[in-house]
Amino acid sequence: MIVNRNITMTWWERIYLPEIFRGISVTSNHFFRNLIGFIPALLNKDKKRKIFTLYYPDEKVEFPPAYRGRPVLVVDENGTERCVACGLCEIVCPAKCIEIQPDETELEKERYPKSFSINMARCIFCGFCEEVCPKEAIVMSDECEIADLDRNKMFYKKDQLLISKNKLQKRLNYIKEIYGKWNY
Amino acid sequence: MELYLTKNFKTRGSKTLKVYLKNGGYKASKKALKKMKPEEVTEEIKKSGLRGRGGAGFPTGLKWTFMPKGNEKPKYIGCNCDESEPGTFKDRQIIENEPHQLIEGLIIGSYAMGIKACYIYIRGEYTMQAEILQKAVDEAYKENYLGKNIFDSGFNCDIYVHRGAGAYICGEETGLMESVEGKKGQPRKKPPFPAGYGLWGNPTTINNVETFCHVPHIINNGADWFKKIGTEKSAGNTIFGISGHIKKPGTYELPMGYNLKDLIFKIAGGIRNDNKLKAVIPGGSSTKVLPAGMVDVKMDHDSLMQAGSSLGTGAVIVMDNTSCMVRVGIVLSHFYRHESCGQCTNCREGTSWIHQILLGIENGRGKKEDIDLLLDVAGNMEANTICALSDAAAWPIQGLIKHFRGEFEDHIKSGKCTCPESFEI
């Protein structure tokens, strides 16, 4: 089957060779730039490279606040989770990966999650839980290295989900900004 | 100007039966009971064009005709003496000076409607007045002006003096009935209306003290005499109580339709310290305020309605140019916040909200949109509740903002009161 993409090439393009050389010049431009640029980096002389690709396991990128990593529970200054086990994330989760058992607490918030588990083997990182959360208690962290060979280990319990507020401040500010627009 | 209600107030001992009889008392009741049929009495009152003096100005004769005929069920009169509206103190004067006038009016009213028991619901704070009234009732019983077979006409009538426990809302007729019944004083939902389902579920008519006081004079002098006094639609004299920044505060009996400006400057002697007049509340705290430019108005129901206020109980509150209108609003809204029975959502929450917004404006927390918010809240409170207290709380605020919006805006802008001489809260 011939697909007509309605591309009309000029004569210059149709003789093909010049375009090939143009392509080669682009790629070899990169090649030589990197070849020379690498030498100091390889010799541990100069850590600053001109290229932006990161050498992933050795170097870690600092994700922008909009990045959605694994969902975690925010721990407030008083050392307890913000979550009040309202169950909204549980119902909104399209992958049905959140399970909460609420219970009563003596704290002012009255209600807290006795157990809170996220099945990360099912989580699709859609961020609905974060969006729906009325207490800004569950947020998407920037942790993404969560692959595991054992499904049981992917079943995150409450103590694995608790992360202190300071570490998540950037994301908290960000979601306040973007979800704040809708005037909930 | 012919005085009839307060004619004898200055006579020594006017509250006693002896002096009352000497001044021609109980002539009207004798005439009514012996010479007239009940329907004739009602017809006479209807013809006279007497309107209720409790605030709403409902034609009294018409109200009396609502009462069902016949005697299958007991019927009651409730006399509303729960005079708790700020600025109002006319009924108190009547009871203090000539309680027999009221008793006579009640006897005639009972006769006209075929009622055997009247309840005078007197405000809880009127301790002395309640005693005077009770004494007068006892006197009347002693002379058989009350009780069984009055004037040998075969008509029986009892009067009970019931003291309230101090709630503004019990001045509302259904609230009054609840209170008389011994329940928490809060208005009843309507329907059923009191004429069909009142005290203990029986037909009941509620009228103001002053309304009843007019009745003997109408019977005595005839409806035509009464009609000549006052204006066409609001006949008769009424007692205006004038208070506030005025040289001679007090009660003045004047015909309906008397000019407000004359009342302030001629009768009551003008503003204190010869200050400039700023605003007048013409009919008790629940009516809308009138600015100084609008005081040249007749004091009757229709004229004041046109001016955007209402006659109410004829209690004129005068304010000179040292008054801060925001503070006026705070004082009024605090009163209604305190006195709301808490039954209807709009009134319960609205009165407290208005008070809080005004306090915020006074204390420098106000925002530009607060004025519109006040109007909106007042609009939501108005006319949507069981009784009129919610309206009464909303109107003064609407009036204040309508006429003195600039002052509110100044408050919000400067964050503090711009009338330093004004009273402290």
Partner: protein
Amino acid sequence: MPTFTINGKEVKTEAGKTILQAAVANGVRIPHFCYHPHLSIDGCCRMCLVEVEKIPKLTIACNTPVTEGMVVRTNTEKVLKARKGVMEFQLINHPLDCPICDQAGECKLQQYTFEHGITHSRFREEKRPGRKRFKIGPRVVFDEERCILCRRCVRFCREVSKTGELAVFSRGDKSIINTYPGISLDNKYSLNTVDICPVGALTNADFRFQVRVWFLEETKAVCPGCSNNCSIRICHRRGKVYRLLPRKNMDVNKVWMCDNGRITHKQIETSNRLTVPLVKKGNKLEEVSWNEAFDTIAKGIQKIKNNEIGAIGSPHATNEECYLFNKLIKNVFNIKNDIECIVPSWEADDLLIKKEKAANPQGAREFGVKTNDTSSVKKIIKGNLKALYIIGNDIIDNSNTKQDVLQTLSKLDFLVVQDTHNSDLSSIANVVLPSATFAEKEGTFTNINGFVQKTNRAVPCPAKAKPDLEILSGVAKAMGRPFETIEPDKVMDEISKNVKSFKNICYEKLGETGIKINN
């Protein structure tokens, strides 16, 4: 029958109805908080304001009777503005703690807020503080901040339970609901106030914070607490029952339910639930398979002469179970002795609670079971009975001479106990058959007034336990004479053919609220 117009549609309604009732009957929704069809009208919430032609002000629909030719509009701009205003007033002092509040999901305030699209608050002042988590009664928790003062609970206590513990105290914005000094909200029907509370002010202390209501599935069932058989809904999730709620049934319980009935679900998950069939081997009860248990029963029964076998039924069993037990005893075991049963009792009242504290004593009587008869115990003492088949353990639990009865029963050669829970009785049995509780089986109950209602299966039986119908058919099969059917609806067809008083009953006719049997 006055004819009136609502939203441009001309409809007829019964005389004396209010606008709200007529609107509901004609499918027009008018929001309301304080109005409840089974309580008196209060008219204080001001939510149901509607516009009626010729009345200048808006009027409340719940208190205005419909008159001939009335023209009502429920969706004009004026009405919507008034409603929005009322909603705003309701919300200004409301804590807005839906994430915490257990009413979320079935909250009228939440629903109407959503419908009216109120997205932000103009209230900038301090919210009115109130008592949180106040135990207003032993079973009811009160949250004053959430209360919207609709007074439904006050009216319920005055008019339905007639105990009158509650009242509105203070006035204006300081109004609070409270009990009269010195007493608490402790009557037999106190949890109904939780049901009728339109917001989360009154909550069930038992159910609080257990599960979100939107996760709950509801199964229509019948309360087994007493012989009144209130219609209920079983609220359950993932095989666990969380609460029982009343279901509207004007013939039986209207919309109410007693507090005792609401805790009947606690028997489902207790530690002493029987979950596997047990057979006595030597002196010990051992876990066996169902087939082994059935075979043991068949062998044990066959060894003993027919007139030496007795049967004690259960007043808790469904009609179908009573019938099949009858059939098992009379047709399969060929026993001439009457089936007996003991009905526990308690104090009755004139609202819902009936004297017989069992789900189906009336049904049992219809099938010829003799209630409150202990002649078999006497027969054992005389030595006339050697074997006994017992369903339930009422014979022990409701006897004053528990130990004596136990001793007498232990003399038997062969004792079969079919029960839901472990008890002294099951410990002396030769065969113990674990059966299902009310939430785990399907069937019909006949209440004391003869109303037959259907109850449905909400949760599965724990472990190996089986519904009684399956157990009875298993025994019959082991005896070599299996039943034709054990499907509850087929069994009922059989009953209506064979039992005179059930002639008019079949599952299709029962509907949700049941019908009365012919007496």
